[in-house]
């Protein structure tokens, strides 16, 4: 495991140096994009209102507060990752369409995303689930919001972050997928353990 820092715009060379299990801290632009943003761009083919090339996206639905004295300016109250697997359906196309380099979320993603990461030099990383105040603390400024008509959690929030992490690389650009690997290991162990327990639970008379 190595610890690294990444800054946007992220270059392909930076991505190719990363391996699953590495810990990364991000500085620069992190933009929230979850279910509805993926759906709008890929399925409904609506053009994105901003450029994501070389940047990072965050599968997250934050709690934001608008400043009473400054309309249209927001502060993050709490922001944490949501389950990335929900975006599996469209993530490969999303990477292709946007040139995004780093995808941050919770839990693993599947084969299709892993193929997309390999083909377009991108990585998926996880932020510790539920650590919402920690994440909010690393946001320096909410620079803007797009597609607010989708509602607060689903809108595109443009965040400028500093040392945002820890981010654990779960899919690298070399075809490795940490959580898929773990899942295989969990399932192999499961079979033996269940068989062992089941020798002791014959309670039926």
């Amino acid at each position: 495991m190595k610890t690294k820092t990444l800054s946007t715009p992220i270059k392909d060379e930076d991505i190719l140096e990363l391996s699953i299990g590495d810990i990364v801290y991000l500085s620069g632009h992190l933009i929230t994009s979850r279910d509805d943003v993926h759906q709008r761009l890929i399925k409904q083919k609506k053009p994105l209102p901003l450029d994501l090339a070389g940047k990072a996206i965050f599968h997250a639905g934050p709690i934001m507060r608008e400043r009473p004295e400054e309309k249209g300016k927001y502060d993050v109250i709490s922001i944490g990752p949501t389950t990335s697997m929900r975006m599996e359906k469209y993530e490969k196309e999303f990477i292709a369409a946007t040139g995004v380099k780093l995808i941050v979320g919770k839990g693993g993603m599947g084969e299709k995303t892993a193929a997309g990461c390999m083909r377009y030099q991108a990585v998926h990383a996880v932020f510790p689930g539920g650590c919402a105040v920690l994440a909010a603390d690393r946001v320096e400024e909410v620079e803007g919001v797009e597609w607010l008509d989708l509602g607060m959690p689903e809108a595109i929030w443009v965040l400028r972050v500093k040392d945002f992490g820890p981010l654990l690389i779960s899919i690298d650009a070399k075809g490795n997928n940490l959580f898929e690997k773990n899942k295989k290991r969990f399932n192999e162990k499961k079979r033996q353990i269940v068989a062992e327990i089941n020798q002791h639970v014959d309670y039926l008379e």
């Binding site: 495991m1 944490g80 996880v126 603390d137 654990l168 773990n182 269940v194 039926l204």
Partner: protein, 299 residues
């Protein structure tokens, strides 16, 4: 105190306690997290535990919800038949949820079924969800607050087994669910299992099992032994914090049971995440409160 004053006081206490539960983990969960973290030495696992403790510390300092998903609010009520506000509890708890939602703030998490609209105040059809137990010959009330997050509610399931599938079927069901859905539920998990004769009883008991303090055991010796076997087995799988692998997987495994039908063994499963926000408060007939889940808590 007149009735109206008592109502206001009850709402204020419950709003403050609901918000409090969103910020601070209960003593037993916190102690267990520390115990589990101390046993990890792999860098991925320790990095994740460090993040959790840092997050909790900052949540306390800033009075913010420790996790952004403050869940759908559920109250499990044990009310004495002579509690003076027994007729008012339902309305008061809805008012308390609205108050806490605006004050903390809590995330808006209640979507009306069919209309598919978020109510915007965490109150909706049958929500906050109330579970009632009536306690004869008492004049106080004990209320559990539980924040049912999305991620940790996802592994939930129930199944009615044929008796010949036996307790083996129960064990397989639990392990299959946890290995398939557990990692997205923010482990270490608290695993609640209900065993009964029909799906709804088993499900409800699985949730009540999550309310038991960590470290407590099923009152039946076989039940207690099965809890330990499943706990040790799940730990051996080693989901680790956040599913990144580690020496353990769970905060605990709790089983609750009800008599079953000879022809069925129903099993229900509920899970709680590392941010297991469960609070317990006792309020007496004079509306003095005592927080039982967080020692020394002042609202």
């Amino acid at each position: 105190m007149d009735q109206e004053k008592m109502r206001t006081r009850f709402i204020d206490i419950m709003a403050a306690f609901t918000a409090y539960t969103g910020i601070y983990l209960p003593d037993d969960v916190l102690a267990k997290l520390k115990e589990l973290a101390a046993k990890e030495d792999a860098p991925m696992a320790t990095t994740f535990y460090d993040a959790m403790f840092k997050d909790l510390e900052m949540a306390a300092t800033l009075s913010r919800p420790c996790c952004q998903d403050t869940g759908v609010i559920q109250y499990f009520i044990q009310v004495g038949t002579s509690f003076p506000l027994i007729n008012e509890i339902e309305d008061c708890l809805a008012a308390a949820v609205k108050q806490a939602t605006a004050a903390l703030p809590l995330r808006h998490n209640v979507v009306e079924v069919f209309d598919e609209k978020n109510t915007g105040n965490n109150v909706g059809t049958r929500i906050p969800w109330l579970d009632w137990e009536i306690v004869p010959r008492r004049d106080d009330v004990k209320i559990y607050v539980y924040m049912a997050g999305g991620g940790c509610s996802l592994p939930g399931a129930a199944k009615v087994l044929m008796p010949l599938e036996g307790y083996e079927g129960v064990v397989s069901f639990v392990f299959d669910q946890i290995t398939s859905y557990g990692i997205n539920a923010c482990p270490p998990l608290l695993v609640g299992i209900g065993i009964a004769g029909s799906a709804e009883v088993a499900s409800k008991l699985s949730k009540k099992a999550l309310l038991r303090p960590i470290g407590s055991h099923n009152h039946n010796p076989r039940g207690a032994a099965l809890e330990t076997m499943i706990e040790e087995g799940l730990n051996e799988i080693g989901l680790g914090p956040g599913g990144v692998t580690g020496r353990q997987s769970v905060l605990g495994v709790h089983i609750e049971q009800a008599g079953r039908h000879p022809a069925t063994i129903a099993v229900g499963l509920s899970t709680g995440c590392w941010a297991h926000r469960r609070g317990l408060i006792k309020i007496d007939a004079d509306l003095r409160y005592e927080v039982l889940s967080h020692k020394g808590a002042v609202l």
